[in-house]
Structure formats: structure tokens, C-alpha cells
């Protein structure tokens, strides 16, 4: 991963999660085959969102546009390029979610679905169990990275809107 080393928290996340170039490379090599099946995942996801009373109102009148955005985001995830621009795109999602009032549990739920569905897709397109295993491992790590970046930016944006700086938040968290 092409990390901005000045971001200590992100650096720690990547070190501990064990993101490695080999797995990313295998994942990227499977991207063309996986892409064919991504619309199925998006359709499944939005069918579930439409069926839920909390999420359904967010989709009214814009489901096709949202599906395209989701599809583009998943292509990005399997693309194998996880640079500063990739990080910025994930952070933008967290920022937008504050603006449009998409709460973190929606993101957690959608990530959970992807962690369940995407490994099955990898196994469908990669017959070699060893390569599939490496690709799935990387995919899960990238999903976790995205989840972290989206939630982190969501929290930062929310606090910024309230006028609470990171230093003040830290002091509040350690109050007794």
C-alpha cells in the first residue's frame, strides 16, 4: 500500500492489519473476472436496503444513481491501487454521510454484507484455493480499511461541525 506516513493512525492500522503487496496483486489480477459479478452484489444490497424501514427512505427517487455509485466504489476496492487518492475517496464518503445523515450502522451493515458476499465471488472466479485465499484475505483487509476511513472521517466531520477539536475530544474522553 502506498501510504502517507504522516498519518500515524492509518499507518498503525495498516501495520497491524497486515496489508501486503502480494495479496493486493493477486486481488488486482482477479479484478476483471470479479467485475462481471459485482452488479449482482449491488442488486442484492439495494434489495435489502429497500426492504428495511430505516434505509428505504434514503433510496427514494435515486436508486439507480446510488447503485452506480456503489458499483464504482466496489470496482475501486478490488482495483489494487490503494494510494492517497484512494484514501481520499473513502474519506469523502464519510464526509458526505454526515451531510446526508447516513449513520454509521448503515455502513457497518453494508460492510458486513460485503464481507459475506465477496469471498463467495472470489471463490467462483479463482479455482486455485491458495490464490483465492490470498485474494480473500486482501479483500477483507481493504474492506476493513475502507470501513475505518469512512467511520473516522464521519466522526471527524461531525466533531468539526460541533466545533470540537480532536484535542478537546481526547480530553473529554478521558474525563472522570
Amino acid at each position: 500500500m502506498q501510504l502517507n506516513t504522516s498519518d500515524k493512525n492509518l499507518s498503525t492500522f495498516c501495520t497491524i492489519s497486515g496489508l501486503c503487496a502480494e495479496g493486493q496483486s493477486i486481488l488486482a489480477s482477479l479484478a476483471p473476472a470479479l467485475e462481471e459479478h459485482l452488479p449482482e452484489v449491488t442488486d442484492t444490497f439495494y434489495t435489502l436496503l429497500q426492504a428495511d424501514a430505516q434505509t428505504a427512505p434514503y433510496l427514494v427517487g435515486r436508486i439507480d444513481a446510488l447503485k452506480q455509485t456503489h458499483l464504482a466504489w466496489m470496482r475501486d476496492i478490488i482495483g489494487g491501487v490503494y494510494d492517497a487518492a484512494f484514501i481520499a475517496r473513502q474519506e469523502k464518503i464519510g464526509e458526505v454521510h454526515v451531510k446526508v445523515h447516513v449513520p454509521p450502522h448503515f455502513v457497518a451493515a453494508s460492510m458486513s454484507l460485503l464481507r459475506a458476499e465477496l469471498p463467495l465471488l472470489v471463490e467462483r472466479v479463482e479455482p486455485d484455493p491458495d490464490r483465492a485465499g490470498h485474494a480473500i484475505k486482501s479483500l477483507m483487509q481493504v474492506l476493513d480499511l475502507c470501513h475505518y476511513l469512512i467511520d473516522r472521517k464521519y466522526s471527524e466531520t461531525l466533531m468539526d461541525n460541533l466545533g470540537i477539536s480532536p484535542a478537546l475530544l481526547t480530553r473529554l474522553q478521558t474525563l472522570r
Partner: protein, 122 residues
């Protein structure tokens, strides 16, 4: 030296009115610069002032001058001493707000002057 000067301002403020119980100076990040209060309340005051600033702006009320909390046991008056410092004052429940307000404003100006002339790395 700067801390001693800030503490002195707080002592003078308390002595200036029988209605003033205690006061504190923090940064807007909640770092205590000088205080006569229990430690635990200081960063909450900074938070309240930040919320006051955002609320005043979003309600088109202009820049914040003061946040006043009125409780059964007394008053809490929060204001900026400078752009990035908070002056918090605890007063008696039936304190004369105008009178205290003048004293607090004077103390805030003194704090701002000390902070401007005695730069200090937190």
C-alpha cells in the same frame, strides 16, 4: 510566570465581587491554563463554548459573546478571553449579571493581554 499572572487575574476576579465563587481559564481545546475549579469540569466548559459558537453562527446570531448556564445552585458564565481561550466563571444563583459581566469582561481583557505578551508553548 504566565501561569502565576493568570492565577492572579482569577484571584482578583473572585475578590471583585462577593457573587463570584470561582473561575478558570482554558484553551478552546480544553487545556487548563489556570483554574480555581475541579479539573473535571474545564474541558466541558470549552465544549459548551464551542457549541455556543456553532449555535450562534447557525442561528444567524453573529459572533458569540457569552454562554450563560443558570442552575438552582448558581450560574456559569462562559466567554472567550481570546480567540482560543475560554474564561469560565461560577457565580451565586442571584448574582447581578450586569455587574458580574463588567468584571468578567475586564478580566478577559487582562487574560488576553497576558497571553498576547507572554507567549507560551502548551
Amino acid at each position: 510566570m504566565r501561569t502565576a499572572m493568570l492565577k492572579n487575574i482569577l484571584s482578583e476576579l473572585k475578590a471583585s465581587s462577593a457573587d463570584i465563587d470561582a473561575s478558570a481559564i482554558t484553551t478552546t481545546d480544553g487545556l487548563v491554563l489556570a483554574s480555581q475549579l475541579p479539573l473535571c469540569v474545564d474541558s466541558r466548559f470549552a465544549t459548551l463554548l464551542s457549541l455556543g459558537v456553532q449555535s450562534a453562527q447557525s442561528a444567524a446570531r453573529g459572533s458569540l459573546e457569552q454562554v450563560l448556564i443558570k442552575s438552582k445552585e448558581g450560574l456559569i458564565m462562559l466567554s472567550h478571553a481570546s480567540a482560543d481561550t475560554v474564561l469560565a466563571v461560577l457565580a451565586k444563583p442571584h448574582a447581578q449579571l450586569d455587574h458580574i459581566g463588567v468584571k468578567v469582561k475586564h478580566a478577559a481583557e487582562n487574560v488576553a493581554h497576558i497571553l498576547a505578551t507572554h507567549a507560551h508553548r502548551h
